[in-house]
């Protein structure tokens, strides 16, 4: 079995980095701001492999760079350095971070989906929820209203959104339902890879549980590989096989999720785990 996604040395720096910026930032320096140039190292040197159907967690506090990693991979941001190869894209031979805008759009629409913490980032609130899903289907070449609506109904049913609300805008939905519409949109074209960025943060506990259950069921049923970004260790424990722990833009530890939680090696991870309620 070969990796679905290979990521090497993924780096994002804001501002003008100096020669020693990377040396002088990170967990050992307790900062991601370069003392010489004031440039900010959002993430640096992030490398990992993701296998088909695998669920990888990225955990860390706010500002640790965990969201930056998925935003770079979903092309929401431009990388400063690094490479990523996605197997279904050109047989994994081309660094997708260097692809043209058009190619990147193809990859985003056919090979990936993302669910953002804020539904406004993932959904267009001036379109109906069906229209939001239609956007993904249209980008994949479907121009038949009947079949678009059929597929959208199927996806909404699958994500437990009442189908009769398909023609309402997500603005009139509850937070949990907005997340479900986002998930329906993200999986519209059966992508092999899904990014979930703090998807349950800010939701009520009971709603949170339902969204997590949905994600887990979809994962088991469709076998989608996922990268789950969360500051919440219980989300990570429930969803993931493997976990990267990030601090100040660097991966400080990676391992099997049960090992990270029960036998953490790095001081920061030990602190994180011991802070678990």
């Amino acid at each position: 079995m070969s990796a679905l996604l290979r990521v090497r040395n993924l780096t994002k720096i804001y501002g003008e980095p100096g020669e020693r910026t990377l040396e002088q930032t990170g967990p050992e320096w307790n900062s991601n701001i370069c003392p010489e140039t004031d440039s900010i190292v959002a993430c640096a040197g992030v490398s990992f492999d993701l296998y088909p159907g695998e669920v990888l967690g990225i955990v860390g506090e706010s500002g640790s760079g965990k969201s930056t990693v998925v935003k770079l991979l979903y092309f929401d941001m431009e990388k400063t350095a690094g490479s990523a190869w996605l197997r279904p894209y050109n047989d994994g031979r081309t660094n997708m971070l260097e692809a043209s805008g058009q190619q990147k759009r193809y990859i985003r629409n056919h090979l990936m989906g993302t669910v953002y913490q804020n539904p406004r980032d993932g959904l267009n609130f001036s379109f109906s929820s069906g229209g939001n899903i239609a956007e993904k289907l249209i980008m994949a070449g479907s121009l038949h209203v009947g079949s678009i609506r059929e597929r959208a109904s199927f996806l909404l049913e699958k994500t437990e959104v009442p189908v009769r609300r398909m023609d309402d805008t997500p603005a009139s939905f509850s937070g949990g339902m907005q997340q479900r519409v986002q998930i329906a949109k993200a999986i519209a074209n059966n992508p092999p890879l899904l990014f979930l960025d703090e998807v349950t943060t800010g939701l009520d506990v009971s709603v949170q549980a339902k969204v997590l259950d949905l994600i887990r069921e979809l994962q088991q049923e469709l076998g989608i590989a996922m990268i789950v970004v969360s500051h919440d260790l219980s989300v990570i424990r429930m969803l993931t096989d493997r976990t990267l722990v990030m601090k100040h833009g660097r991966v400080v530890e990676s391992g099997l999720t049960d090992q990270i939680l029960q036998d953490p090696q790095h001081a920061y991870t030990q602190l994180l785990v011991s802070s678990l309620l």
Partner: protein
């Protein structure tokens, strides 16, 4: 009134100076070379305000020659105030012959219509365009719409058509119906009615579009494929009139709705020259397209 003889005769032919004309022509060449692509241009100052037909006027004045016969229509009419003023201006600045007769004209400027009579290879139709960006309704940032055109990323446009269908049961766009030109760029055909849209496809005539306020030129060269955006199961359709022209009994033309003095409602042919010709029993050679052909006579 004091006559200013000194300046009266010192205007350049067709008002605009030659180097500016050259710039406009160069941009027009580019527009013709990339059908449907919006080319930015200088949009020089004119003696009328931007947004009142300056874009069309720039194109007209840049390409008109002394032997051209000029016609200008506004919403199908040769006689509207706007058409009269611009006709007078072009005539004064060029000395060209003007006409109402669609078949006689070599250069026609128009606002919101294509003529009912089919245009020929030796004619040019210039559109005055208020909003050249078809994606503006779905994307407010210019840098984003340019990127979307560059990458042919038109999903949002399609979603807005889908939304229109969901909300109204059909694609509700009376005028300025978005079209795809030469299989590539989505273009705003200026606010012509849907009736005129099929006449852009594989036409014999060169169509030039000028948007003065937005400083954009674009073109549909002769024999270019122009398709209205439509879904496989929700098709584009032209306007349906539940009546015929009360003056002529004619059916296969774009009709205006009229309220007569007695309060009754009637329909009349919108294209004034076309109406005149039919009323006088003259011969007309209208555009023929599959949509018009479906209308029973």
């Amino acid at each position: 009134m004091i006559e200013n003889k000194k300046y009266k005769n010192s205007y350049n032919f067709a008002f605009i100076d030659e180097s500016t004309k050259k710039e406009v022509r160069r941009k027009l060449l580019k527009a013709v070379a990339i059908p449907g692509y919006q080319v930015p241009y200088s949009s020089p100052e004119m003696p009328i305000s931007r947004g009142w037909g300056t874009g069309g006027l720039h194109v007209t004045l840049a390409i008109i020659g002394p032997k051209d016969i000029f016609k200008i229509i506004d919403q199908g009419s040769d006689a509207s105030v706007n058409a009269c003023n611009l006709r007078e201006f072009v005539q004064a600045m060029t000395g060209c012959k003007t006409t109402y007769d669609t078949t006689e004209a070599t250069l026609i400027q128009t606002r919101h219509r294509i003529t009912e009579e089919e245009l020929r290879e030796d004619q040019i139709l210039v559109f005055q365009v208020p909003m050249p960006e078809p994606l503006r309704s779905v994307e407010r940032y210019e840098y984003r719409t340019r990127q979307m055109h560059g990458e042919a990323d038109y999903a949002k446009m399609w979603v807005s058509l889908y939304e229109s269908y969901v909300r109204h049961g059909g694609i509700m766009r009376g005028a300025d119906y978005p079209v795809k030109v030469n299989g590539r760029y989505i273009m705003a055909p200026s606010p012509i009615p849907r009736w005129d849209v099929p006449n852009l496809n594989q036409a014999k005539t060169l169509y030039l579009f000028g948007a003065g306020r937005e400083k954009r030129l674009y073109a549909v060269p002769p024999h270019t494929t122009v398709e209205p955006l439509e879904f496989e199961d929700v098709r584009f359709a032209i306007e349906k009139f539940d009546s015929l022209c009360y003056k002529t009994g004619y059916r296969r033309a774009f009709l205006d709705e009229l309220y007569l003095d007695d309060g009754s409602r009637q329909y009349v042919i919108n294209d004034s020259n076309f109406l005149d010709k039919i009323e006088q029993g003259g011969e007309v050679k209208p555009f023929i397209n599959p949509y018009i052909q479906q209308i029973e006579l």
